[in-house]
Symmetry: D2
Subunit: 383 residues, 4 copies
Amino acid sequence: MTNTEKSKKGVLLLAAGIKGAIGSTVAASAAIMQNQPENVLPYLTTGEKFPFLGKAGQMTVAGWDTDPVSFDRALDCCGVLEKSLWEPCIPELNKIDVRPAPDAGMGVKEQVAQVKADMAAFRNQQPGLVPVFANLLPAGVCHELHGFSTLEQLYQAAARVPADIVYAAAAVESGIAVVNFTPNDLEIPALVSAAEAAGVPLAGKDGKTGQTYFKVVLASSLLARRLHVNGWYSLNILGNADGENLMDPQYAACKLDNKTGVLEEVLGYAPGEKRHNRSAHKVHIDYYPPRGDAKEAWDVIDFEGIFGLPMSMRINLQGRDSILAAPMVMDLARWMAALTLAGRSGPVPELAFFFKKPVGPDGPVGFEKQMAALEKLEKEICP
Amino acid sequence: MTNTEKSKKGVLLLAAGIKGAIGSTVAASAAIMQNQPENVLPYLTTGEKFPFLGKAGQMTVAGWDTDPVSFDRALDCCGVLEKSLWEPCIPELNKIDVRPAPDAGMGVKEQVAQVKADMAAFRNQQPGLVPVFANLLPAGVCHELHGFSTLEQLYQAAARVPADIVYAAAAVESGIAVVNFTPNDLEIPALVSAAEAAGVPLAGKDGKTGQTYFKVVLASSLLARRLHVNGWYSLNILGNADGENLMDPQYAACKLDNKTGVLEEVLGYAPGEKRHNRSAHKVHIDYYPPRGDAKEAWDVIDFEGIFGLPMSMRINLQGRDSILAAPMVMDLARWMAALTLAGRSGPVPELAFFFKKPVGPDGPVGFEKQMAALEKLEKEICP
Amino acid sequence: MTNTEKSKKGVLLLAAGIKGAIGSTVAASAAIMQNQPENVLPYLTTGEKFPFLGKAGQMTVAGWDTDPVSFDRALDCCGVLEKSLWEPCIPELNKIDVRPAPDAGMGVKEQVAQVKADMAAFRNQQPGLVPVFANLLPAGVCHELHGFSTLEQLYQAAARVPADIVYAAAAVESGIAVVNFTPNDLEIPALVSAAEAAGVPLAGKDGKTGQTYFKVVLASSLLARRLHVNGWYSLNILGNADGENLMDPQYAACKLDNKTGVLEEVLGYAPGEKRHNRSAHKVHIDYYPPRGDAKEAWDVIDFEGIFGLPMSMRINLQGRDSILAAPMVMDLARWMAALTLAGRSGPVPELAFFFKKPVGPDGPVGFEKQMAALEKLEKEICP
Amino acid sequence: MTNTEKSKKGVLLLAAGIKGAIGSTVAASAAIMQNQPENVLPYLTTGEKFPFLGKAGQMTVAGWDTDPVSFDRALDCCGVLEKSLWEPCIPELNKIDVRPAPDAGMGVKEQVAQVKADMAAFRNQQPGLVPVFANLLPAGVCHELHGFSTLEQLYQAAARVPADIVYAAAAVESGIAVVNFTPNDLEIPALVSAAEAAGVPLAGKDGKTGQTYFKVVLASSLLARRLHVNGWYSLNILGNADGENLMDPQYAACKLDNKTGVLEEVLGYAPGEKRHNRSAHKVHIDYYPPRGDAKEAWDVIDFEGIFGLPMSMRINLQGRDSILAAPMVMDLARWMAALTLAGRSGPVPELAFFFKKPVGPDGPVGFEKQMAALEKLEKEICP
Ligand SMILES: NC(=O)c1ccc[n+]([C@@H]2O[C@H](COP(=O)([O-])OP(=O)(O)OC[C@H]3O[C@@H](n4cnc5c(N)ncnc54)[C@H](O)[C@@H]3O)[C@@H](O)[C@H]2O)c1
Ligand SMILES: NC(=O)c1ccc[n+]([C@@H]2O[C@H](COP(=O)([O-])OP(=O)(O)OC[C@H]3O[C@@H](n4cnc5c(N)ncnc54)[C@H](O)[C@@H]3O)[C@@H](O)[C@H]2O)c1
Ligand SMILES: NC(=O)c1ccc[n+]([C@@H]2O[C@H](COP(=O)([O-])OP(=O)(O)OC[C@H]3O[C@@H](n4cnc5c(N)ncnc54)[C@H](O)[C@@H]3O)[C@@H](O)[C@H]2O)c1
Ligand SMILES: NC(=O)c1ccc[n+]([C@@H]2O[C@H](COP(=O)([O-])OP(=O)(O)OC[C@H]3O[C@@H](n4cnc5c(N)ncnc54)[C@H](O)[C@@H]3O)[C@@H](O)[C@H]2O)c1
Ligand code: NA
Ligand code: NA
């Protein structure tokens, strides 16, 4: 290990699902950023924040994936980035330390121990960097593990535990901050109390990247003008793995509920109750091959002004799912590294800006409040 | 005058252009609000603010128009509100004190004197109410009156002066706050210094009601995510008088430049410079009879994420111009009444939320900053 | 019965489901057309066709509905037409002869007999008019009655038979033409052969009123330019009874399959097979209260030109379901009356223009072919 | 010249403006088609038509351009096709015989003579092929040359003559069919009568490639249902040279008038007259850099059904101008070659399908009529 690695400041981003659409895009961005910063840095919101963490470009990536394929094969198959962009970095990409997922057949404690060992190894390779764990696993099935008050109880009693919780428990026990970008529910009491005890900050859940981000923004702007929303229909069509995966109703369940609850929270009322005395906020996600990773969202918002006169707004977002998500994961890693150094522990509701279902009590609601909360938090952790 | 009128708290809204699409809608709303508050109050942002001003419903309207037609005829021809909504209030509506505009042929000082006399008369009729002057005149021609440092100089030298400035000067000299909802430039040095001297607050200019409001909101949300805007095309089609009027290029000029400058201000860069080294932000307003007062806006936003990968958003707003504008004018009247009582004088940049081209130095820029400024201002003026 | 009724030429439209959204709109249109033809006639495609049938305005309506409510109450609750439009015709509307549906508990033959008796009564009231039966019942459950070769066998064996088939059988046995505007499958072998034997023409099925009509039109135009369709996503949101009804998956099944099959038929290939080797044509129907009867459709079409370069078209149709459907039902009644007089029997594939799933062999496919077929058919039946 | 060239059947496409966006795309397609037919042939409507002309792939291209740059440089700068598509054909592309435009300073007759000499040379190189001249020059200024009855008179009197007419006159005098894909007016009496006398077929004018094509299709479908159009607003934003050129009002004039007249012709009435007693059909073309060659069109159509109830349709076409145009130019070349062999002369109104402003008397109007006319014409010229 060279001296520079020893004394280098920056962030060590440890991702579960690192070969997925978002994970591989984050890894490629971190690599390409070293010599072509203009491709990534201008699109990070923390580019000039937290100087004590070193330049935003100082980020090393490692992690886990069940997919044994080589990193460049993974990038190729996800089809998010043109090959010409990352081809020059194939050597560094294929040197990324990707460990297999622990065998789900083993006992929970054993699985956690394996991940903790990986984390210790990752840390030794990059002593100067502040490690942050990012959960980028596929949308999983909802589970019922809220009954346990400590991780120990969980390990004893729970037969099967979703991979998300194995990784998160290992991180908490290793004193490593956790970012849950998935809709999966890993903020169970056992884990939250362990994090608080261990002085580990937790952020999540379910990245607010595209349609839902703009939904919160527009809902905040309609509320700010007292324009009453009578109905909001959101269609999502996408053609990547995440999309195909969401076609399985049980998986879509968590995702959908995160996307629907958001609106009522921002507006303070359920659209549809006033004029139709039933909810008129629907979110439909559908798999549509031609879109690939380029998710398309179509929204219609029915609202009324004085005298209940109806008006409507239709929004068509032709986005790129993982291109919107990757910079958010990198920003969250820098936030969590800074929060770790600032000694924050447990859920960080002030990061609600990044999530569909922010964890932690009394988080800011609405776009302007969430932006103000970020500004305030930055002042608190930057001396 | 009955006792109640004498001791009644509330706002006296004096509007130039009171029989226009916005003015008549404001007048009808103020009348209907007395017995059917549910039709208007829930849509006011100041509904529960400034208790010291009395209930938001306590608002009396008076003003000027060149159109001699009766008030119900004016409402009918503007076609904004269904007749069934205001028919029951025709008696009160036709009792609204509407004075003719001063003869533009007279000397400027004489015209101002006539308006001041009207203002004094309006005040005597409603002693308890705090008067506020709202400029709702048609989009006028840009003028060149920036050379005068005092109103006196203006009166002596200027041969022709736009009606906007006559009314505003009269208001300032009568100690009455001024709200400029039009794109017309009445915040000339002579008037601003007079307002500051007379302790009269000024708010303006060009109400940010529909497309431009959501443009500022979305631009702020894109900046918040460091998504770089490469181009923004805005189409406006409307079929009311304001629309037909704007087809006259010289009138459209002020309007258009207000709508174009806004974006660069919020983003901090000119969309198009980076990828096309020329501006790629265009606003086109067109007269399209089928829309009537229901202005329709179509926007396409081209933005890029990491690696400059292009994404786009298209927004179609089917609004109702004057239905969006009227409650803003009523809210502004209550803000300015409160600011008058709080002793504020001169431009009030903190009200940037309401305007395309906010007057006054260092006003807040961007949706979240403008919302925060309103919150701060309210705390300052409400003990 | 006055002499005029005896000798009057025209069409007697007998509708099952006459108090529904389409049925009541047809009835109101027929009544209002008598003294305000300008409200309806210009929107009929058969306005100037078939002079031998008398003026298009000469149409009398009668039929069946399970809903006992008065006709004006039905119109009010469907909310399709403003009350001010049909209020003057309430007397004629409430004089429309609406008979109850036969008790579904009775034997099939008995139910058919009751409907035949009603039909005979209707005919006697309007001897001069040519009767046509229009099926406007709600989208029903798919059934399995294809095994019977004659109506007699059907009556003997089938325990339960959908109402559609009871009415259609009664019509065929009464020598009355049948128009099936519903997606329900009543063109079973037993009925078709009976119709052919009795010299009764049959048209159907599932009215092609809005999104599907324009889908056929646009698909034909893309094929005409050899622009290959790689994917087509259709969203339908509506808030009327038909909408609520379609939320029941089993009912939606027939409707959806009619809407999906159409595209492949017109294009001659399954969109998605070439680039994604799986179908990429999806139709999603969702219940969205704010729309009421004003169905909204959103389509995205992904197509490619030379070199497979991708292009796309997005269409947003803000229609009025029953307002688009009613004139088609009236036009179909005049076509079938003319076809009856011209001695046509059995399915009339040439009327494919009107239907999502045209019945009968070798019907014209594609907008231009369907228009040419109508032109040819008209020449054949008009001497 | 090898034997194959002598006896080869097919089309010799001679294009003025061959290095432009459309011209270069046609040339690249013709070259690539030789060994990768699947990239072009499936998108030609005449792919299987006119076997007597040889396979559709048998097309050789030559022509004129004022731009001296090499062919691959031209393709690169137009930015229509990815370099990877045509790079392998650079040798053939740079062998294309491109002659300079005649010096506009010379006398008209001399210019025509020079072009005729070029045409003779082109023909000698490809004796077997049927030559067709395609006008792909930029949208030019309207001119006034309708007064001349013969080309001879034109040559004598006219000082300056647009290049379009120079090329077209040379073609007619060389017995070569003319396709006018531009909005420029070259069908002046002198040229038409010369074409008729020389037995040369003429097709034009102004290719109906994107928005206008679908406008004719949708207008035909609304008329077919007697849905009355009250207004139609068309926005076009594009960023290629054609777009920048159209920003010059005098050039846009011809283009715009072609795009506006079409609708009234198809509908048989002027949208807006009935409800607003003034035209409500507007077309606005604007230069918007981010689009490049990928023209985007946004249309809103306001139409009414029974009782004048308003409905609306909005269409957003994200097309690729030259990708839509190139195959049409190739198809037109094959049609005109076939028509030449079939002895047709003068304007060919039956090709109205391809043009915004079809030349020649009593051409078919409306999508279905234009398709039927193509079918009929093909039967006439294919024994
Ligand atoms: N893309 C977005 O805009 C967005 C927005 C919000 C939330 N999310 C969520 O983020 C998550 C990741 O999205 P994605 O598009 O990258 O998904 P993806 O399916 O492309 O990637 C998931 C990766 O996890 C790997 N994996 C599966 N099980 C594993 C295990 N036990 N251990 C380690 N790796 C495992 C898979 O092999 C795959 O490489 C999903 O839950 C998605 O719902 C995505
Ligand atoms: N409606 C909106 O959404 C909106 C948004 C921002 C700004 N504005 C601006 O607000 C202003 C009013 O809009 P509107 O739609 O009510 O316009 P309008 O044309 O309907 O009303 C203007 C009224 O002013 C009257 N008038 C003209 N000259 C006068 C004079 N010298 N004295 C007194 N009255 C006179 C006219 O008779 C008319 O009744 C315009 O400048 C418009 O550009 C409107
Ligand atoms: N509206 C459209 O654009 C459209 C287009 C294509 C097809 N359709 C189909 O047309 C049919 C009618 O549509 P709608 O919107 O009028 O439906 P609706 O539900 O409003 O009307 C159906 C009527 O049938 C009556 N009914 C139910 N059972 C009956 C029975 N056994 N005998 C007699 N009457 C009975 C109901 O009381 C109701 O009045 C549906 O099948 C619909 O799917 C509608
Ligand atoms: N692209 C479309 O969808 C479309 C549709 C309808 C009509 N059109 C019309 O087709 C024409 C060509 O379109 P484009 O996009 O290829 O334009 P372009 O500007 O890209 O190409 C025009 C070419 O003509 C060349 N030229 C100019 N003057 C010349 C002369 N005197 N002799 C020979 N060459 C000359 C230019 O150098 C250029 O290479 C335009 O008139 C356009 O309005 C285009
Ligand atoms: Na506005
Ligand atoms: Na339909």
